[in-house]
């Protein structure tokens, strides 16, 4: 509630939300290290976490520049009510199927988003998006390949993938929510309209789920949201407590 980010311009706020998605996603992936099911997965998950962290640094740097806030001030000195990531990114890691399904949903979304953002009227964001789109393309391939193997692997892996699907699905709606600021930015051609991504996303996700023998998307009225407005799950506070612990224990230090 130190309100570091209350006065950000809309485009900076937008970049911050995307950056927070990437930062928190990177954090959850990095929690897998030394726990992954195979050495190849250690390498791959670390790689994706590193790409996401790189994107986060770029976006946080962009978001803070005109306010004079550094990437580290934004990452380490905000409390969870100031974080703007989607709830999907922050949910605690479950099993490997949970991580794969989340990555599948998330990278499908990011791929569409960054592709759209390459057309941004903001040249810097457009250039960033072009590079990031390539990276998330690889994340998406990885997630798809494992979604297929888990869904169409053993009975156990199928059941675990189906359980992850059911748990995570409700959180995907938030990715396509539009608030006033984003609507205005989209109207100015600065960012893609999130709603316009929902259709392609559903189609792409649906195709893979079907191929993975995971059936169609679940139904249900519960579509939680709030992350973009700083209304998170109870999990984010613990994540940030850990992430910020060393930084906060040494106020004013440089690293």
């Amino acid at each position: 509630m130190t309100a570091l980010t209350k006065t950000l311009k809309p485009l900076d706020g937008y970049a911050l939300a995307l950056g927070d998605d990437a930062l928190i996603s990177s954090h959850r992936l990095s929690e897998w290290l030394t726990y992954a099911p195979d050495l190849e997965e250690e390498v791959a998950l670390a790689n994706i976490a590193l790409d996401q962290l790189g994107q986060a640094r770029h976006l946080l740097g962009f978001a803070g520049r005109s306010s004079g806030l550094s990437e580290d001030e934004l990452a380490y000195q905000r409390v969870d009510r100031e974080y703007r990531n989607s709830l999907l990114a922050e949910l605690p890691n479950g099993d490997f199927a949970h991580t794969i399904l989340r990555l599948f949903f998330f990278s499908t979304y990011q791929r569409l988003l960054y592709a759209g953002l390459t057309a941004s009227a903001d040249g810097e964001l457009a250039a960033f998006a072009a590079k990031a789109a390539v990276e998330v393309g690889y994340h998406h391939e990885y997630a798809v390949s494992w979604t297929l193997r888990l869904g169409d692997g053993t009975e156990e892996s199928h059941d675990r993938a189906a359980a992850a699907l059911a748990e995570l699905w409700p959180y995907t709606a938030e990715l396509f929510a539009v608030d006033e600021d984003v609507a205005a930015l989209a109207a100015e051609g600065l960012v893609p309209d999130p709603e316009s991504l929902a259709g392609p996303w559903s189609e792409q996700v649906g195709t893979v789920l079907a191929q993975a023998t995971l059936g169609t998307a679940p139904s249900g009225t519960w579509r939680p949201s709030g992350g973009r407005a700083g209304l998170h799950t109870e999990a984010l506070g613990y994540l940030l407590a850990e992430m910020q612990s060393v930084h906060r224990a040494h106020p004013g230090a440089t690293w």
């Binding site: 290290l33 990452a75 998406h140 060393v246």
Partner: protein
């Protein structure tokens, strides 16, 4: 394969040529290499744990990225090394099983805990530093796949070592709390790093035959001395003290003398009674157990479809 054309093997060795997997070789040479490469591979993957312990708490995003890349590199080193060992006719599965059941070892240094963020810097400087001193001669090792893996690994580890040193330098020039953290980390990692070169030459096993086979090219004490001589001036630049009252320049030998190493501690840790031996192996075996259903799923998919679903996709971003 019981008769070995040892003359060709000996000739290659004598000519300082590389032995390749297709070449015939004495079984003892093969066994020694398997043991050594496997231990090295195990050390890479167990070594991810102490540093990985700080991934989620790195105090800046830049340091977090550096650490993440480093831990990833260690997993990558593990992959190359298991692959190198596999050229000798063992499988990664067998080697992992030997690790999990305690039949093969990993470097004892990783049985110490990382207690503060500064430990990441100290490990980079001292532990990677010691590893490099140990490993540079291995880039000229007689077994080709191992030597080639070591070239790449040494390059990456030099990079890690410089990053660790630089991180420690920042801490040592930082706030009082950061400086104290840095000194404390060096105090705790210095002696275990010296132990990384193994027992004193007088008591070392394996060495003489490994030397004949051009696997090992320098004695433990020689390499240890080289490491000490490298570190002392670096510590001075850092402005940190090495925790050894006996450490001083010896005009006669042209080297730094250093105090007595606690070989009882070394032995205890090696024999399983270090602070983290149980924890490291338990974590490793748990990850392996927990991953069984995932590996099974991949195998089942492959059996059904005759292929993996797509290129892994991450190779393109591997760096």
């Amino acid at each position: 394969m019981t008769t070995i054309s040892e003359s060709r093997f000996d000739a290659l060795l004598a000519a300082d040529e590389r032995i390749e997997p297709r070449d015939e070789m004495p079984e003892a040479y093969r066994a020694t290499l398997i043991r050594q490469i496997a231990q090295h591979a195990h050390s890479e993957i167990i070594g991810m744990q102490p540093e990985g312990n700080w991934l989620t708490r790195a105090p800046s995003l830049r340091r977090k990225a550096i650490l993440l890349a480093k831990v990833q590199d260690e997993a990558g080193h593990g992959l190359y090394l298991y692959a190198a060992a596999e050229t000798l006719g063992v499988s990664r599965t067998e080697l992992l099983d030997a690790l999990h059941t305690g039949r093969q070892r990993y470097s004892s240094i990783f049985n110490y805990p990382t207690l503060t963020w500064a430990d990441v810097g100290a490990i980079g400087w001292l532990v990677d530093g010691a590893a490099i001193v140990n490993q540079i001669p291995l880039t000229r090792c007689s077994f080709g796949p191992y030597a080639r893996a070591m070239v790449r690994i040494c390059q990456e580890e030099s990079f890690h070592q410089r990053q660790g040193y630089e991180s420690l330098h920042t801490l040592a020039r930082g706030t009082e709390g950061q400086r104290a953290m840095a000194q404390d980390a060096v105090d705790r990692w210095w002696w275990p790093s010296l132990m990384m070169f193994g027992p004193p030459d007088a008591t070392s096993t394996h060495s003489s035959r490994s030397t004949e086979w051009k696997i090992k090219r320098h004695s433990n004490d020689e390499l240890r001395q080289r490491f000490v001589d490298l570190c002392v001036p670096q510590a001075e630049i850092l402005g940190l003290t090495l925790p050894d009252a006996d450490l001083r320049w010896n005009e006669q030998t042209g080297h730094y003398d250093y105090g007595e190493i606690d070989w009882a501690e070394f032995k205890a840790v090696l024999d399983g009674d270090g602070p983290c031996n149980r924890q490291r192996i338990e974590r490793r075996t748990q990850a392996h157990r927990d991953g069984q259903w995932v590996r099974d799923a991949a195998a089942a998919y492959q059996a059904k479809h005759g292929q993996t679903p797509a290129a892994r996709g991450t190779e393109g971003t591997d760096r």
